[in-house]
Symmetry: C2
């Protein structure tokens, strides 16, 4: 079976290159849809859309370029936010931090940057690169390095394909900047994570600079287009007072896992991450059952009646039962009614070497990864 | 009265500039003498001398230049080690780390570097810049930014005179490097300290780059020359089987504070610092009395019979009772017999604004700083 990343959008010719522009509605759709792919993390869609929409209002243009259109010798510098989601919603970025990080790295590299792009999918991390691209007058590549969100820097298909995280720049709202070069990608995560803690919980980063050729090998293409489509589906369903869930599952090739009410949330901020778990009491067809979802910024595993029914790298996303609005880990609240869905990850994550980087064992769960499609068929 | 920093050495003309070269014995003297000025911190003299002597053995030349000889438009990049002294003695540097940091910053600055220099006095931090200068073919300025050692980056006369800590480079033994730019010098300390912890307790750094004009205003001149003289005094006394203490006190304008035996040491490594205290039971003329010395990498206060008799920024140094070898905070041991001396700090530390940076209140002691000369006269 296919996976959602194979989806594509229409591109038109722009300034010699094949690109498409985003308007305000596209951005709003993208922010909401990316939050579904963010699988509990990747940042809040409301904050995410703000800087991109502001860039539009200031007269900048947001142009998206397809991976296939990027020249092999082009140079791409991704951009993102890093840190504790529970902090980002209280310590709202100005929007200039990530541009500061981008300038720091570009200046150091001393090369013409063809485009920026997200490293992960998420309400914030799919949309922040839009403002960076707009303000720098460069396009944003419709791709990312996860096809979802993950909590650590080395958890990308870039890493799995040998692209180094560093040189990497980090910036905060006080104009503190750090340029980091490490001996490997795990050291980049180790040091950068601590800097985000010293910065107050969040940092704005540029990293994983790579050529167009590397991009084509290492990136997960089409994530922005899929996010837009998911967001548009939710918007249309809301306008028509219909449930978008069936269409969302169809686009993502996802499965419904559980319907229930949040009866307990445990959340702690340790080591620069938001960690915790949510217990969900079944309603409707799941009455009498419970689902336990555990997270480290992103949802890691879903345990139904003491059996793991979904785990990283597959996506586990909580949607509001009425509106299908995705619920990020930092906004899970007691009493919320939700629908939990599971989405198969990109096939790039299903190799042995990739699973060593993002499989359940890396996160401390002594279980073997089983693709969600199989588990769902098994448990019915 | 004068202070020890007014001491000067003989300089000869070398390659157009007025410089003097150090030989192996000079380096050994400098390392031991600098440890006295290191006031418990600044690193171990044995480790310190190794890289400098190795540079000599590899055929490099170590040239010292006086502050007065540095052209106003010359560009100086100091170099140092940073971190927990208790870790440095167990995790011995290769010697290339600090050169790596130096290269990182020089490359970023893109300017010709005229000289390097220490930022503080200490067994390690007075000698590491010697190897950097030797290997880069540049002289080392006979000066520093403390005239002693202090635990935090902003505790320099450079800072008090408006020289920014950043851009600053940090390196470790794995070739991890960080280039840091912060909004102020306290932020530099805050972020850099944490990076040293992530590096494993120590980092090798270059920082406080400045012009010759700034150097003349902001530096404490002559520290290296004084350190050499102190070390030479101890060496000669050892050869003649005499006590060097009287001469040491004469050179430093210091005072004997206490003679005793270490009966208790409490040491903990927290937040990247070695903190703790030592209790010393009096012997000879101090029989029946106790002295308590508290430290954060460096000795901060000396409390005799519950009365503070010396405090930062004045220097408190423990010397071995037999050999007058200085005892660093990480090498204080139960049963050691020692002589505790107090040395007046540079007059640059005795202004109101300087005392806000390095006075006892900054370290959490609710006492007013009293110059050691006065206190000693008061208590006799």
């Amino acid at each position: 079976m296919g996976c959602y990343q194979e989806n594509n959008r229409e591109y038109g010719k722009k300034g010699g290159d094949i690109m498409r522009s985003l308007d305000r509605e596209d951005i709003e759709n993208l922010a909401v849809g990316a939050t579904i792919l963010g699988t509990g993390g990747g940042g809040d869609p409301y904050l995410g859309k703000l800087t991109a929409i502001q860039a539009l209002e200031e007269g900048y243009e947001i142009n998206i370029v397809d991976v296939k259109e990027v020249p092999n010798d082009a140079f791409i510098v991704p951009s993102a936010g890093m840190g504790t989601p529970t902090v980002i919603v209280e310590k709202i970025p100005r929007g200039t931090e990530v541009i500061n990080a981008f300038e720091t790295l570009s200046e150091y590299l001393g090369r013409d940057v063809y485009a920026t792009m997200p490293i992960e999918a998420g309400g914030l991390n799919s949309t922040f690169p839009l403002a960076v691209g707009a303000k720098r007058g460069i396009p944003i590549v419709d791709a990312d390095g996860m096809g979802r969100a993950f909590p650590e820097l080395q958890m990308t298909t870039f890493h799995v394909n040998g692209v180094p995280v560093t040189p990497m720049a980090l910036a905060d709202e006080r104009d503190n900047t750090v340029l980091l070069k490490t001996c490997n990608n795990y050291w980049a995560e180790w040091i950068a994570r601590d800097i985000t803690v010293r910065f107050g919980g969040t940092a704005w980063i540029t990293l994983y600079s790579m050529s167009g050729k590397e991009l084509k090998k290492a990136a997960i293409p089409g994530t922005l287009g899929v996010a837009e489509k998911l967001g548009a589906t939710i918007r249309e369903a809301k306008e028509n007072r219909e449930s978008p869930i069936e269409v969302l599952l169809e686009i993502t090739k996802g499965k419904g896992l559980f319907k229930g009410k949040i009866i307990d949330v445990e959340r702690r901020t340790t080591g620069g991450f938001a960690r915790g778990k949510a217990n969900i009491e079944g309603i409707g067809e799941h009455k009498g059952q419970t689902l336990n979802v555990q997270f480290q910024n992103e949802n890691l595993v879903a345990i139904k009646n003491n059996k793991v029914i979904a785990s990283v790298p597959d996506l586990i996303t909580l949607l509001d039962l009425e509106t299908a609005t995705p619920i990020t880990t930092e906004s899970i609240k007691y009493g919320q009614r939700c629908f939990v869905i599971g989405i198969p990850c990109s096939k790039k994550w299903r190799t042995k070497s990739a699973l060593e980087v993002v499989g359940p064992k890396y996160f401390g769960y002594d279980i073997d990864y089983k693709p969600i499609e199989g588990v769902m068929e098994e448990i019915g």
